[in-house]
Each structure stands twice: as structure tokens, then as C-alpha cells.
Symmetry: C2
Subunit: 331 residues, 2 copies
Amino acid sequence: MQKENSAPTMKDVAKEAGVALGTVSKVVNGLPVGDSYRIRVEEAIQKLNYQVNSYAQGLKANKTYTIALLIPNTVDPFYASLTHHINMALLKRKYRMLLCATDFDPKQEQEYISMAQQNKVDGIIGLTYNPALMVAENTPFVAIDRSMGPGIPCVACDNFAGGQLAAEKLADLGCKNVAFLRTGSALINEPNKRKAGFETGCLSRGLSYEMKILDDVDSYEEFEMFLSEHMENGKLAFDGIFCVTDRLACLVLKMLHKLGQRVPEDVQLIGFDGIRAFGTLDYHCSTIVQPVPEIAEMCVELLLRENMLVKPPLVCLPVTYAYGGTTLETQ
Amino acid sequence: MQKENSAPTMKDVAKEAGVALGTVSKVVNGLPVGDSYRIRVEEAIQKLNYQVNSYAQGLKANKTYTIALLIPNTVDPFYASLTHHINMALLKRKYRMLLCATDFDPKQEQEYISMAQQNKVDGIIGLTYNPALMVAENTPFVAIDRSMGPGIPCVACDNFAGGQLAAEKLADLGCKNVAFLRTGSALINEPNKRKAGFETGCLSRGLSYEMKILDDVDSYEEFEMFLSEHMENGKLAFDGIFCVTDRLACLVLKMLHKLGQRVPEDVQLIGFDGIRAFGTLDYHCSTIVQPVPEIAEMCVELLLRENMLVKPPLVCLPVTYAYGGTTLETQ
DNA sequence: TTGTATGCGTTATCAT
DNA sequence: ATGATAACGCATACAA
């Protein structure tokens, strides 16, 4: 006799089928059971629309098949894509995902970690900007784009190679004097290697370059000033610009138009991330594409592979260049 | 004496503090406890880094403070934005979110519902395209953009008013002969009312109009053919086009350019959804903006308000028009 | 092969 | 006010 207004339990099923509790458990878990019993139990399950209570399961097994994803938001297309592919990679392995959007708030991030641990998740994948984040030793953790300390693997695209690739592409496309524009977290993180890679690429190709680096500001006026200062006789001193993200590249594209520059004829522009409009349409600009599905797979793999002898501290995945209209087309 | 390699429990805390189990529970839940005891317990909690196990809590309370979001993906910017704002609305109420990306797969959707119910979520918010979706009676459910049956509230923007607004805007901006282009699910759902609203608007403003409606196809060539067929002497028969989504509007924009049409001088274009590049930058096109934060709030509110006398079957939230470069600017 | 009993971590109802 | 104990739903070791 199932209680009103409450989901049926194994006990209800057992009573309905006229068998013992343990038998039901075995049927549910696919353990060997006499055929006649199995049928009766399965019928009772159907009839009552029984669902196992995975909280009770988790309580027993100390395993919940749930992982938490810590990410600033799902509105930024890069985060959105990462979220989706991690979700898919988890689903493939029958894991569920607790979405923890932090909005860049360190306090929120820390709270979410507590929440996640209270929820006894089996692990956490985190893309966070809180340098002082506390994560319990016993919770498996994989970081994206930032090394979080010993024992915590970090997965990222090969940002250094990406910066280098951007420089080489600009050189291949005929640029002589280029610029690198960057804004973002002042934290030491993987994406910051884009700068070093770009410099290396410029040096190896004999490109002269300038840098304009802003830390964590939300005003892009300084970039506009920087560009204006490099105008002479209606012509920009640079014939190629590498922006640290596609987002910045789009903003810079507008600035260039305002300054009367044609892209890509007067100045070529390369961004980073590989963001497509509406997720699947055109690239916003020529860009260094991050391998998001591979990053997602790698995070999940590193997190769930328990018997990994040593977890690699840093995994870099290869980037590619994609034409997106802001560079001269290559044959 | 806490077991190795396993999170501390209330029992561990009790032993550490030298008090009884119940006392620890009271401290954790903020129930009155003698000060000296409270201190000791709190110190023990600190020392052991104890976290309550919310699975055990949920098992007792039959309440988990978790809701599931069923959504096709988080890559499409509209879904991504919805996901983010629902996450925020839940967080505000101390609820967690299980993200269930379905990739439009009805089987996946159904599986996720089972999974969600196994996880004993307190409710489900779903944007799904499976007309035959089975959801247990006793699981609170709120649908987005599609009525799913009696007892299940549906939240959407005012799609009809949005269509109407698009027609009126085009009329205001001087259009005489317009077109409506649509692709998407053939299901009966709320967004389909955009068409009826647009027709109503056209009729009330004396606009002559044509429609081109494709069901659930991924090929946009037919739209290109449709437009080509309406060209004469290098000029398009329409001076205004309303597309069912911003995404389609962007595709159509490219087609128009290919046909040598200038936007907005020759033909004005209005989309629907209010998608911004990179989530926060410019609109891709002039558009009817969905009130995503309000939709999110409403879903969560409807889902969690238990003592609501009657749940409204359909809630429509107001849309607005936003200029995005593909219409003539209004003063 | 099937049934019974115990414990997972927590809360709540009791006595004390 | 505090401590002992039962119960939540399930899995499993053990007994039948």
C-alpha cells in the first residue's frame, strides 16, 4: 500500500509483487533472479511506475554519478560550448551534471564548491578565476585554463602554439608590422600564453610588433586610443592585428571601421577561440579555433579515470586556424 | 575516528566534540543548543571540515533543492541565455540545477526525465520538442514555449504580440510589401504564433504580405529560391522581411547581399529573439527581443510556488523591439 | 535461488 | 537542554 502523494519504493514493489525486498533490488540491478519472480517484479514496477531513488543509492554506494561544472556563465559562447560538450561527454558515460554558474564571483565560486561537496558529487570540473579557491583534497577536480595546484590536472588548448600560429598566419598573409591586443584576467593562466606564443612567432618570422595589454578592465576605449595614436595620414601603422579573443576582435573590427580602415585589405585581424554566430553559423572573424569537444572529453576522461597512475598536471590540445573574413583568403 | 578516504559524518563530529549525534544535527540546522555545546560542535566541524550530506538530507526530507532543466543544448544563444538566467533564478532561492541537454532527441528527452525523477528532483523545467513526452503526475513541471497538457503551466514570450509588433514596425518604417520567413518545428507551439501575429499586424496596417514556411528542414536553399523568384530587374519585390528567428535573419541577410540588395536601404529585416553577439555585444539584426530573465524568473516561480491555488496554463511575457542595423533608424 | 537483517548519514521523536 | 533511537530507500552480506 503505497503512501499517498509519494513515489513508490522498493518496498511497495515487493509487496505488490509478493516477493521480498532483496529480490526487487536484484531485479532492478540486473542480478540473477528466478524467471517467474523477475516477471512478477517487472510487472509490479510497470504498474506502480517505480523509479529507483538515486539519493538512497548514492547514500549506500557513496557514489552519485553526478559531477559539478563550475563556470562563470553559459552566455559567453565559449563557456556555452564548453558546457554543452562537457554535458554530452558526461551523458555518454551515464553521468549527470550539476551546473554551477559563478558569474565570476569568487565568493559564489567558493559557495558552489561547498554546495557541490555537500551534494556529494563524484568530482568537479572548474573554470574559475578565484586564485584562493579552496577545494577539499578528497574531491576529484579538473581545472580548465588555469593550474590550480599539485594534484589538480589542468586542461587547455595549446595557447602558446595558438599565439604562434596567429603570428605565422599574419606573416604568411603578407603582414610586416603587427599588434597584439589583450584584455582579461591578470591571473596567471593558460590563455596568457597567447602573448608569449605570438611574440615568439613574430620574432621567428621577423615581424615587428607592438603590444597593448589591459588587465581586467571593462573599458575598451584605451584600445581605441591606442589605434588612433598609430594612425598617420589616414593610415594605420599596423597591417595585422591579433586579438586575444574573438570577442575583442569584433570590437576592434568596429573601431577599425570607425577609423576608416578596410578589413582585411588595409589591416588583417585574427581572433582567438573560434566562436561561430549562433553556435553553428559563420565565424565572426578569422580565428584560432579551440578544440572544445576535445577539451570537454579530456576533462571528463581525466576526472573519471580513477586508476590513472599519475594525473598529468597540464594537458594542451591542438588549435587550428580558421578563415573568417577578416584576413586575406589563402588558396 | 573518521574512516580513511571518506568524508566525515555527523557521527565523526559528535565523537570529536564529545556530544551526541542529535546535538550536532541541531547545531547544523540552527536549532537552539547550549552555547558551550555549540562552540564545541562548531570547532569540531571546522577541524574535520565537515559538510552535511545533502543526499542523506534529501532521503529524509524527500526534498532535494534540485531541479532539472531539459533543454536541447546550451550552444544556441537563446537556450544558453535561458539556461543562465534559470540557473541564476534558482541560485537565488538556494536551489541547484541539473542540466539535461537533449540535443533535440526525443528518446534522450524521455531518458532524461526518468533520470531526473530517479534523482528525485523537486521539479523539472523543460523546453522540449517531444510531443509524446511522458512526465509522472507527481513531478512538478513547467514547460517553456509549448503547452504540454493540463496541469502543466507553459511560459513563453508573447509571440503573437511580437509578430504583430514586427509588422507594425515595418509599416512605421515605410514598408509596403513584406514577407514572413519561417522554419522550425512543425509542432504546435507558442513560437508558431509569430506568424498569426504578423498577419494580424499586416492586415491592420494594410501591408501586403507573403509567407514562406518550411517545416523542420535544415536546408535554407528554398528561402534563397523564394527570394530569387521575387526579384525583377535586380530589385526585390519586398521592402521588408520578418524572419522567425534572428538566426534565420542572419542567413537571409547574407542571401540578400548575394542578390545585390542593400539592407536596410532596399529591404528592411527584422528577426526574433534578441540575440546579441557574444551574449552581450550588439544585436545581430533588428529584432523582437524576448524577455529571457523574466521568462526564467517566471518558470522558477511557477515551479517552486507550491501553494498556488491554480497554476496558470499559459503565461505570456511582453516583448520589445530593438534596433540592430537592419532597419532604418527611428528618431 | 530467495528472504532477512543491517547500515549508509540525516532528522525527528522521544525519554532523560 | 541533551542524548538515545527509529526511520527515510536502498544494497548487500548472510541465513534459510
